[in-house]
Amino acid sequence: MSVLTYHFSEPQPQLPSPDPPQPRPTSSRELTAAVPESDVTMEIRLSAMERPLTVLRVSLHHPTPGPATFANVPPQLEHDTSPLLVGRGPDAHLRLQLPRLSRQHLSLEPYLEKGGARLAFNLKALSRKGCVWVNGLTLRFLEQVPLSTVNRVAFSGMQMVVHIEGGTSLEAFVCCFHLSPSPLIYRLQAEESDEWEIIPQEQPLSGSGQQTPGHLGFLDSPSQPSPGGAPEIQLQREPPDSALC
């Protein structure tokens, strides 16, 4: 179980954004990483009074990002139990600057299963014009699905992998964002096959923060034991272009 400490220091200066500065949503708070961004390992401590936060490790990839696409993506974002909005608009907690992205494109909503002790998450499509592909399912406006531990999401050309590491806090959760230069969702070579292919993940280069090219650019999981490598990942066949959102 991973726990997270956060420092209330001054935020690091961000890359200049073409958009005028907008007031931050009050339900979210950007956090500086406890260690430099390039270090893949985060030191985690817990005070006696705090419960460990659920961590959403979010990897993002766009094949042709513009200079402003990820300009508003912080290293970390703490959010309360209201839905976390992803979109292009000023109300979005995760703001991505893509012309085809709706102002509110999707939301990640925490909730508790009956009898559950850890936050679960629901992904809901909020775009009236676009759609969201989630773990093989295409969501249209107002459709929603519960998320699994590892989730592959595609929308407006963006690829997003969300890895949920459960904590016991019911007050808030934290998103840790990672920008991947490599695609996150691959097309299998045998296109006529719909079978699952299990490809063991290679160890990421330590300290470099760079992803091994040509392989699954995946999340850093310092809390995961890795005697022979990171956990095996099941790849899913990339949907045909017409089905991509």
């Binding site: 139990t81 209201s82 508790l112 009956k114 009236r128 406006f141 107002l142």
Partner: protein, 185 residues
């Protein structure tokens, strides 16, 4: 006439009828912020919050025993359906939310049945959905009941509040037990 012929086709709108009851509503003014018998139109992606805090809640109750955010309602669309459904979520850490006979704890949520009774504390809400075609908007309309909803013979809400203030003198309720089918309230 040309405007009528050229105008966009109107769609019916999903409406949630909410009949509310609280034993102390007359003395304490807990529903003073609620506009009764008024259909309020809301965007379909809105998360509608109910509680004491007027800064965060769309509908507020003037009652210190109500949580700042008590519960929320939002629309969603099921994969195999062309109509919208409601989902209710308990946002209170202190109070359970009871939907029919199901108890929801903090952050628990469930699909709202087509017609159901929602309770927390002394509050009772009879909620009934009217299906509509529109995916863009929905409506909420409140009615006030001056009698408890959790009684066999009192499911029909009073649409008109008598000016005399006395419900019983204007009552048209049938006080004899009403036979109901298995699947009816």
């Amino acid at each position: 006439m040309s405007n009528f012929e050229d105008a966009d086709t109107e769609e019916t709108v999903t409406c949630l009828q909410m009949t509310v009851y609280h034993p102390g509503h007359q003395q304490n003014g807990i529903f003073q912020s609620i506009r009764f018998f008024n259909r309020e139109k809301l965007p379909s992606n809105e998360v509608v919050k109910f509680g004491r805090n007027s800064n965060t809640c769309h509908y507020t109750f003037k009652d210190k025993q109500v949580s700042r955010v008590q519960f929320s309602l939002q629309l969603f669309k099921k994969f195999d359906s062309s109509v919208l459904s409601f989902e209710i979520k308990n946002m209170s850490k202190k109070t359970k939310l009871i939907v029919d006979n199901k108890e929801l704890g903090y952050l628990n949520k469930m699909d709202l049945p087509h017609k159901c009774l929602v309770r927390f504390g002394d509050y009772q809400f009879l909620m009934e959905k009217e299906d509509g075609e529109s995916l863009q908007f929905f409506e909420i309309e409140f009615s006030l009941s001056t009698r408890p909803l959790l009684q066999e013979n009192n499911w029909l809400p009073q649409k008109h509040i008598p000016e005399c203030g006395s419900y019983s003198s204007c009552s048209t309720q049938n006080n004899s037990p009403i036979e109901m089918g298995e699947n009816e309230w």
